[in-house]
Symmetry: C2
Subunit: 447 residues, 2 copies
Amino acid sequence: MSERVLVQQLQSLPDGPVSVSGWVETVRDQKKVQFVILRDETGAVQLVNPATRELPEDADDAAKAALALTETISALTTGTFLTVTGALKHDERVKLGGVEIKIAGLDVAAAALPETPIAADSGLDKRMDWRFLDLRQRRNNLIFRIQTTLEHAMRTYWIERDYIEVHSPKLMASASESNAELFEVPYFEDKTAYLAQSPQFFKQMAQVAGFGKIFEIAPAFRADPSFTSRHATEFTSIDAEISWIDSHEDVAAMQEELLATAIAAVKQKHGAEIEELFGLEVQVPTLPFPRIPLAEAREIVKSRGYEIPRTDGDLDPEGERQISAYVEETYGHQFVFITDYHPEIRAFYHMRDEETGLTKSYDLLFKGVEITTGAQREHRVDILIEQAKEKGLEPEHLEFYLDFFRYGAPPHGGFGMGLARVLMLLLGQDSIREVTYLFRGPTRLAP
Amino acid sequence: MSERVLVQQLQSLPDGPVSVSGWVETVRDQKKVQFVILRDETGAVQLVNPATRELPEDADDAAKAALALTETISALTTGTFLTVTGALKHDERVKLGGVEIKIAGLDVAAAALPETPIAADSGLDKRMDWRFLDLRQRRNNLIFRIQTTLEHAMRTYWIERDYIEVHSPKLMASASESNAELFEVPYFEDKTAYLAQSPQFFKQMAQVAGFGKIFEIAPAFRADPSFTSRHATEFTSIDAEISWIDSHEDVAAMQEELLATAIAAVKQKHGAEIEELFGLEVQVPTLPFPRIPLAEAREIVKSRGYEIPRTDGDLDPEGERQISAYVEETYGHQFVFITDYHPEIRAFYHMRDEETGLTKSYDLLFKGVEITTGAQREHRVDILIEQAKEKGLEPEHLEFYLDFFRYGAPPHGGFGMGLARVLMLLLGQDSIREVTYLFRGPTRLAP
């Protein structure tokens, strides 16, 4: 038996015997000829078999085998995985890639039940129930190839610059962000563990440990009861943290270069297919990304006729869309850093500018949606304790974190970015559910 | 002020003004001259200052500043993070890299408390209490640079071969391995979630989804009350799964090539430093790794005079050391695949050989310790259900998993490998605690 070849290799092979493996996408069982569309992880190919519908009385073994093959093909169900050997033939009349395979032998690995529980036009929730079937769609497969390329380009960017990749623990003895949204896990000796909401404390720990520059791509957990298109109870968080910065600007400069590099890698490898399957052209962002202080952003939004209802001084989702629309119109840019947030709407560990009193932090918006918060962290323990108290936090509960800063600490900062949000926006999708391998939400824990 | 330079760059710079940032490793405060050893993430350098101990009556500003600098240096505590500007001077008499910096200015970022709670010879548990200080040691820093190189080489190996990187959920509605060792998480709507013990089911899901070849590097959780040097309640699991294999041998062939590639990358980048700091030479394994069927391995162990006490037919830790010693002596190899395990000591989803009835699976031992279980999986749902029942599992509780195989499935298999075990053995360490960023065990949940 010939070695398995991938469908995408067929066009470059000469006519002759081949073996392909994949699953049945469709069967057209015509009286005189049978067609099977077989898909694998690289593409689809047409298989063809001249049907043998009945046997003459003096049928030989070959004729009997031909009848059996015809009957096997007639009985094939959509989704059945199989290996087919046969003769590859180039034929420009074949729309699907200009090749077809005349079936010689067919080996079913596992047959599918005849009724497929979802169709291409099934609703999102139904598709998520049957995610393993939903992922067989070409564009869903592409999403995770894009994710792979995006992440690898980011990791490579960092590793070429001597960053250390860390795996910080997801089981913690206390909250990493706030006590809200915390999953509790009964632990040994009647203790309670908590699932990390972010690697915040532990990536800062790498800085006081003298690691210099680190990154982590790992799950984070939020017991978040919200049902928006961009929240999940478990998500993949992309985090970086670097030492010896002068301000959050050093973090922003790294992040914009990182994103431009990663998006360029995606465009180079998948740009054509994204255009075909998602109907959009990937835009590699120019550097630097525009920066707009929050107060100015609010003024701009207001001047566009939108009155932000929230009173805490932050943008709301519509405000984010408005400022992004402004940036797109004015600078032709899909990204914008919003800077200079008031301490009231930022975490206690954000460093504050001595002159303005505003935090040395930013949010990064991409196509109107926030994908990142970045900041310089307060590394002076006395100020850090004051800021924690100001937020109503009790320093006693933060001792293990505060200890990090009592034995020396460099100035440092970093960002956290939701992988699914980036993918969702990059591919023009409505929901992170579309770009998450298996989504987890308040009412979604399976499959 | 000059831009920060890394300590490792100093040797290649000309004499002249530089700026370095790091932490104080030691201060030698002699009467006439002060020496500070400053370490950053790349190395250590000697800083020097001619001491000014008292001022003449007509002291000028420069003299006053010199006195202040001397006093600042005298007060420096070990671990204090600071930036120093000064004049770089090459001097071959300086043991530490043949350069020193005459201090011109010194800026403390955050001073350390005077008493450092751990010393280089503190016990492991104490060092873990103060892991952020422990990680400042050069060899601990190196461990995580090695980890970064090892992982990146593995990811690159896979990505060059068109694997997809997945992030499977860690919150699950049911057990992925067995009901033992399961952390429970109270979830929404009075449901209970479980922390994934492995990505087993979800990496198999990628195969029925037609992804072809996938990998994942992510945390896995075991509510395992054991206190051995190689168990943790949370660990980083390296997983791969591939379709259209003929047997577990295809998985083993991929894994051995992967490991040889990754270890070669580590040796190339860090070999000299590993030799210096860990006193061992990294051995890049030759291909193929030796393979020994389990029954034969037990015979060999017996012939070496060790009687394995366990009666289930498996090797015990001493048996693993014995067979590895045999392989090292006989083949000069640090790795060995043990194959052909009896179904009784394997998971229900391991495929069985039709002729022998043994599972199509292996364990991989590295320097006498198991680091991996690999197998071909049973993809035929009827047989899978039978095998589950045989193990006392109730198929009703596995419905979501069994469904994967009802709509078509390719033959497939994969392996799971503990990152910390590989690192521990590669670097000749006694415990995974030494090579885990922040270890988690039954009595260890902090920092």
